[in-house]
Amino acid sequence: MKKISPFLISAALLASATAHAQLRVEIAGVGSNQIPIAVAGFADESVAPSQVSAIIKADLERSGVFKVIDAGTVISDTANVDFSAWKGRGADALVVGSVQKLADGKFDVRYKLLDTVKGSQLSTLSQGVAPKYTRLSAHKIADDIYEKLTGARGAFATRIAYVNENRRARDYRLEVADADGEGMQVAVRSNEPIISPAWSPDGGKVAYVSFEQRKPVIYVQNLVTGQRTVVSNQKGSNSAPAWSPDGSKLAIALSKDGHYQVYSVNVDGTGLRRLSNSNGIDTEPQFSADGQSIYFTSDRSGGPQIYKMPASGGNATRVTFKGNYNISPRVASDGKTLAWVSQREGGYSLYAMDLASGQELRLADGATEPSFSPNGKYIMYATKGGGRTGLAVVSTDGRIKQRLSTNAGNIREPNWGPFMK
């Protein structure tokens, strides 16, 4: 259910006109205790291909954590600021900056975060970036602002992977975009389905399942070089790849023994080892944040439920008990929250559970394939409706929702990438 508060804001941020079909982002709902922040235009920012201050504003607005005040003026990072005037306009913080073209063709993107209440500087950054990375430099500034003002690491500079499919045209693409849906690049194009993308912890590779051999086979692809390797093509089906936190192994699900069971395999495809042992379906493995345990879906007790076992295999303990269809476990990076999909009263809903207390929170309806942002503050998921699928994001507290959609094709199977260096 959408939470419609009296403070509902809704914004459609249309992508800058490029050749690609971009994702469109709509925001609904606001967080509690929004931080009022004024963002000024950056001096000379029109020299760069992307408007840095506009991207920062959009990021901060989308987070739901900030109440963004348009400064309505350009303020350079070198200008003297009248703190009390900004405080008078209701801003607790002020963002100023500049963009300068350097002799080598790069841009120097500078910014300052100012505390208008204390009249002091909270942070400053200077980035020398290639023209095509000005957008990224703006996301990094938004990350810095988010971290300085909330204490949590920002995830605006991270990327997402998802599948864009047009079944009628037999056009299946694994696409990578910035977390705001901009800057899309195609990583895989195929005539057959692609599902279950999973970013490596270093953000350099993606594991996924491709049906190009008329059956599900697991691949790992280096995003920069395009080189890919078959990680598992055992007899039967191969699917549900999940990386170990150290990036050395994948937990996978194979049907080679007659029914789906969980295995571990080295990234190069060696060292295959069976981890789970049941007479039913065991699939969708996910490592816990510390790498010590594996959460997975099993129908050993009848309907699918979520279980947990040691990462080296062994006895499994049941984690979910309410409802008779609980699938797709995902663990937040702090290891404290489990997100999953539960079917109750007909539909499929996204739930989050505090693992310490077992307390559950329903976050969204019509949701499958959840994926946590690397800071654990948001969950991206797939929505199905009228045969079309799209992506949406909800904050882990359920207060803020965003929808991402495209004009053409169905987008599904989201996976939120890690923090990048």
């Binding site: 079944r167 599902i195 089906s237 699917s239 379906i281 699938i327 499929y348 499958t368």
Partner: protein
């Protein structure tokens, strides 16, 4: 003359039998008259026998009206056992595969679109495995079969209603 007549008889009967699409070992055809032949140069009977070779044209697998043309096994909602009305399909293909041991099949299990991607893949696998086990119990070697799942990814019917979902709760036998 006697010799010529008997040869004509053999050729005619062979042609008739071939027309019935029934492969016949000519060794079994009575050739008693031939032994009465006075011809001294007549080759040994076995040298004149012809063993027919089947090309694709007479392979029952390629007969669009034959029982092997039906290669889909349908399942009930939330069910992973081969229904009684699907058992003839399984039996027909099992019969063919046990006679043609060089042929191999991929058994692809499917589900409707409701639910999670990966769990549906596991449920499709369960359907493919049900067909594989049934065929195995009818004598088909496991080396001739691979059970795989397409989950909800390759729906035959694209709608989001019960008719479409029923069409997609299916396992297909695909010859390789």
């Amino acid at each position: 003359m006697q010799h010529f007549k008997s040869l004509a008889f053999i050729v005619t009967s062979a042609a008739l039998l071939a027309a019935c699409k029934t492969p016949v070992k000519l060794n079994d055809t009575p050739v008693a008259e031939r032994s009465t032949s006075s011809s001294t140069a007549a080759p040994a009977a076995n040298d004149r026998d012809i063993r027919p070779v089947e090309t694709g044209a007479t392979d029952p697998l390629n007969d669009p009206r034959g029982v092997l043309a039906n290669r889909s096994v349908y399942f009930d909602f939330d069910s992973y056992t081969v229904r009684d009305d699907a058992k003839p399909v399984v039996a027909n293909h099992s019969g063919y595969l046990t006679k043609n041991t060089s042929r191999k099949v991929l058994i692809q299990g499917n589900t409707d679109e409701r639910g999670g991607t990966e769990y549906n893949l596991a449920l499709g696998q369960k359907r493919a495995e049900a067909v594989r086990r049934s065929m195995n119990s009818l004598g088909v070697s496991d080396s001739q079969m691979e059970a795989v799942s397409l989950g909800e990814e390759k729906p035959k019917a694209t709608g989001s209603d019960e008719a479409a979902w029923a069409e997609n709760r299916r396992a297909d036998i695909v010859y390789q």
